[in-house]
């Protein structure tokens, strides 16, 4: 266990994926990959859960459970307090796969269910050589299992408290003073703030982790 931990420290974690379905091994046809990607993007939009598919050739000798734990910790799929992320890892040369489930979805997607999805929906088709069918089946099974849980309501907008009003007032006054004394600096400040806003977290396309965590729940399989 200790030397496995050392090995995992030395191995690099791949960078966070930008799409819901990533296929580094060319296992799927582009049509399937795009279709599954859309399904999972839709799932996130309607329920908020972030489900990813990560396909690569090999973990490089590392047990898939350790790789999955590290990747999940680095990518953080799922929302911060809800921990509703799931990643399906598939390694085509190792012929191993794993469903890593975030804390929040463990009651819905139990270890037993993950194992069933893997052994009944995915591996039989992988053994038969039909990777597209296998992954499509797997994703559909995941969506069905997870689809029941509705997205929580958006957080209510809150009004400012008194100290916050005071601080806001002071900032406005300060800015006006700056505008009078040094208009060029004030102008720079405005452009800087606008630039920061644009680079904010309002990315509409692509996946980005929202701080979810996992504790090792899920199941592994081989074919």
């Amino acid at each position: 266990m200790l030397c496995l931990a050392l090995i995992s420290l030395l191995a690099a974690t791949p960078p966070a994926p930008t799409r819901w379905v990533t296929d580094e091994a060319g296992l799927l046809t582009p049509t399937t990959r795009v279709a599954l990607d859309r399904r999972l993007e839709e799932l996130e939009r309607s329920t908020g859960h972030q489900v990813l598919v990560w396909i690569d050739k090999s973990t490089g000798g590392e047990p898939i459970e350790l790789f999955a734990e590290r990747a999940f910790k680095a990518w953080r799929p799922g929302r911060a307090k809800l921990d509703d992320g799931v990643v399906l890892f598939v390694f085509s040369e190792d012929r191993s796969l794993r469903l890593e489930v975030g804390y929040g979805l463990e009651p819905v997607l139990t270890d037993a269910q993950s194992s069933r999805i893997i052994n009944e929906r995915i591996t039989p088709l992988l053994k038969a050589g039909d990777a597209n069918g296998a992954l499509t089946n797997g994703v559909e099974a995941l969506i069905t299992t997870l689809g029941g849980a509705p997205a929580p309501p958006a957080p209510a907008t809150r009004t400012l408290t008194t100290p916050e009003w005071v601080a806001l007032g002071a900032a406005v006054v300060g800015f006006l003073v700056l505008l009078i004394i040094r208009p060029d600096l004030a102008l720079r400040l405005i452009t800087l703030m606008l630039f920061l806003r644009r680079g904010g977290r309002h990315g509409g396309t692509g996946f980005s982790g929202r701080g979810g965590r996992s504790g090792g729940g899920g199941a592994s399989g081989r074919w």
């Binding site: 200790l2 270890d111 037993a112 993950s114 194992s115 899920g218 199941a219 592994s220 399989g221």
Partner: protein, 215 residues
């Protein structure tokens, strides 16, 4: 007039010198106290991290212990004659129940208690592996959905245990580093046992892996 002037100035400079020294000492003391307070808070935070990680480890182990009765019953259904294995598992679980009861409160402070906890959990893990190995010989058992589910749950639990142990060790390492560093060690030691070093989970003598039984 010259004499009074001469007489006045050394008196003034020595008193202002003393004042300056007092201010300097006061300033320095404030800095030291400030540093000590922030170090204490960092130690407290580190200690709490370790404790919360420990709670996770306990959860994961408890999950495994909870699976045992169901697993034993299921296997007994198909393999009634393997009484030795069942007894082993049941006894190991009882042993785990003992070390998890009253003793658990002080297990992070007492290295011997920690040792006992680890040993009991390891014994349970080993006997569960043997139970699964025995089940291999009963294809009817392996085919039942119930057994497959239990097996999946057991594998998942073993994985969780491994991960929570790893995370606990990380938190313990961070805390132990914090408390041993110079000059933070002075703050740590001045509170007696409050910030004693935390134990680590050791690898078992035989490498214990996730039960590798797969279909």
């Amino acid at each position: 007039m010259a004499t009074t002037a001469q007489h006045a100035s050394p008196h003034r400079s020595s008193s202002s010198g003393m004042l300056f020294a007092l201010i300097a000492i006061a300033g320095l003391s404030l800095l030291v106290v400030g540093w000590a307070v922030s170090t204490y808070n960092a130690l407290i935070t580190g200690d709490q991290d370790v404790r919360s990680r420990w709670a996770q480890v306990e959860n994961a182990y408890q999950r495994r212990a909870d699976l045992v009765p169901n697993l034993v019953e299921t296997v007994k259904g198909a393999a009634a004659f393997e009484t030795k294995t069942f007894t082993e598992v049941t006894e190991a679980r009882a042993q785990v129940g003992q070390v998890s009861g009253v003793e658990l409160a002080g297990v992070l402070e007492d290295p011997k208690a920690f040792e006992r906890f680890q040993a009991a959990q390891h014994t349970l893990g080993a006997s569960l592996q043997r139970l699964l190995a025995v089940s291999e010989a009963y294809p009817d058992l392996k085919a039942t959905a119930n057994f497959r589910d239990l097996q999946a749950q057991l594998e998942g639990t073993e994985n969780r245990i491994a991960i929570e142990r790893m995370r606990f060790n990380e938190a313990a390492r961070d805390f132990n580093t914090l408390r041993s560093r110079f000059p933070a060690m002075f703050v740590a030691r001045s509170f007696g046992d409050r910030f004693a070093a935390k134990p680590y989970f050791e690898a078992a003598p035989e490498a214990q892996k996730v039960p590798a039984v797969r279909f």
